[in-house]
Amino acid sequence: MQISRLNRGDGLRRAIFGLLCAGAALFLIFGPFFLSAYWLRILTQTFMFAVLAQAINIIAGYAGYPAFGNVVFFGLGAYATGVLVVKFNATFILSMMVGIGICLFFTLIFGLPVLRLRGHYFAIATLGLNEATKALTDNLTALTGGGMGLSLPLIPGDVETNSRFFYYMFLGTMALCLLVTHFLMRSRFGYAIRSIRSNERSAEGMGINTTRYKVLAWMVSAGFTSIAGSLYAYWMSHIEPAIVFDMAIAIKAFVMFLLGGAGTLLGPILGAFILETVSTFAWSHLLNYHLATLGVIIIIIVIFMPRGVVFFLQERFFLSSLVKKIREERTV
């Protein structure tokens, strides 16, 4: 009785939450018509990081494999686009497809041995894969331009149209990533990888082909990261191994994903918006201390919301989820 009354209150809160989401979506869709170029650029970058964070969420949040070096797919996507467009005059779409193909192949080849490792060991192995790929890209000068990098041809048209183009491309990719994650998690695949996270041995005992689903999850993650990398190469029109294979990108996306809430649909997106906003503020107001400010904010969030913002909000605004949590704790 008590609980059903609590649930009724939740219905109203859910409606408010839905309205907020719709409002945010409308704001983002019509943003380019009233926002300044400065904020358009920041939002575009936020969308990019939201895609990277959601991609990490699929393999780390749902499947429980912390792919720390996921930035390798960002770099591979960027270089696939860069090399194909500059050296082979390919179209952007074709180069993006090839980039995705390379990343899927990469996960298939390295996923089988590396996904046998767990926890820290897996995280560091992926880091090693990224650093090795970065060093190789740096050395294959004839193909990749080495440390000097590659300059892509500039896109014709005026600056404003181009910035809107990339705004909508990244927004679209983020929306696609969100939709795909949403539907995947309701499918057989989603249940399989979440059962792997809870207990891999039991999942295997239930007849789930864990190796296949782990590799598949990493493939989905790699594919989206690669798309973001391809777009980034075209957006920045200059890429270098030290920039597109930078571990700082991976760590930032990882912080966003954990900040928002691991294994939740909206968590990584929320995390990306929070961290980008704070980091923009720190840059513009506290230039000399912007790293320290970000560091302190990360520390505060970990101490006060150790499970991420989404769980923190859920437990405060949706009483039923608090009740559920207490029940879970009792049964454990």
């Binding site: 894969l129 650093e131 760590i251 691991a262 560091g295 990360i298 101490i303 150790p306």
Partner: protein, 292 residues
């Protein structure tokens, strides 16, 4: 003869890598905490030596206890009043926490010490032992000697003191250690203090051998990863072996291959070792590891 010189150089820098990695290894092995702020702590130790040397002219090797003591207090307080308060968080959240700490420390290092690249040149910097065509500079020899002494001291401490045994017991099973009267929170704070102390002392050694600036910390943290995984998590002899192997591999690779392939080789080695033998050469499975 070149080959012999390369071997000696590799061993000498390997000793330094071992001493940089050992604090990282102890904290990881005992507390299952990857301390991403390790690099910035090492650099802080290097700056303490630099400023003591610049202001009083004291020999850099004599400043080792000072940087060790300062970093011990820092590490102890950080664990006791910051990290120790996070109970509910997952292992990955802790990783992010130390990353935040690293950002904070790096920024503070930059503000306090500026981004200028510093180095120390003691009076005996150019001198060394000459054995035929083999040359060993005194500074590198001193660094190697102190690196091994520190590691040996830690090994004896862990093996023969009550506190060392308490730390080891906690690393195997923290609940059981608590049951037999070990104050686990206090042990964690002391372990983090000891790990930071070792980082600071390694920083003093680095300042004698290399030039450094606040951003160089990340490179040393990366090397610590490789050393710890090569040798085995939490293992002290393993850290020496891992350090020497990395030092040798790097120096040999830069002679026999193009120097630019050095990084590629060492990371391929890292992934290969992880896949073939995840516990490292001397690694045992720790309780902290089993919990993960």
């Amino acid at each position: 003869m070149l080959f012999l010189q390369v071997l000696v150089n590799g061993l000498l820098s390997g000793g330094l890598y071992a001493s940089v990695a050992i604090g990282f290894s102890v904290i990881w092995g005992v507390m299952n905490l990857i301390n991403l702020a390790h690099g910035s702590m090492v650099i802080l130790g290097a700056y303490i030596t630099y400023y003591l040397n610049a202001s009083t002219g004291i020999d850099p090797f004599l400043t080792i206890p000072v940087s060790g003591a300062v970093l011990f207090v820092f590490g102890y307080l950080v664990q006791k009043y910051l990290i120790g308060h996070v109970i509910e968080a997952s292992v990955l959240m802790m990783l992010i926490l130390t990353f935040g700490l690293d950002m904070f420390l790096m920024n503070m290092n930059l503000r306090m010490f500026t981004a200028d690249i510093r180095s120390i040149t003691p009076v005996y910097a150019g001198l060394g032992i000459q054995l035929g065509s083999l040359r060993i500079p005194y500074t590198r020899l001193g660094v190697f000697f102190f690196a091994l002494t520190l590691t040996l001291a830690l090994y004896l401490f862990m093996k023969h003191t009550k506190l060392g045994n308490a730390i080891k017991a906690t690393s195997f099973d923290s609940d059981a250690a608590g049951l037999v009267g070990v104050n686990v929170r206090q042990v964690y704070a002391l372990t983090f203090g000891i790990g930071s102390c070792l980082a600071g002392m390694a920083g003093s050694l680095i300042s004698v051998m290399y030039s450094f600036s606040p951003i160089h910390g990340a490179g040393f943290a990366m090397k610590s990863f490789v050393v710890v995984l090569l040798g085995g998590l939490g293992s002290i002899p393993g850290a020496i072996a891992g350090g020497l192997i990395l030092g040798l591999a790097e120096n040999l690779a830069s002679v026999f291959l193009e120097a630019s392939y050095k990084d590629f080789i060492s990371f391929v080695l890292l992934v290969a070792i992880l896949v073939v033998r995840p516990r490292g050469i001397f690694g045992k499975q720790f309780y902290a590891d089993l919990k993960a």
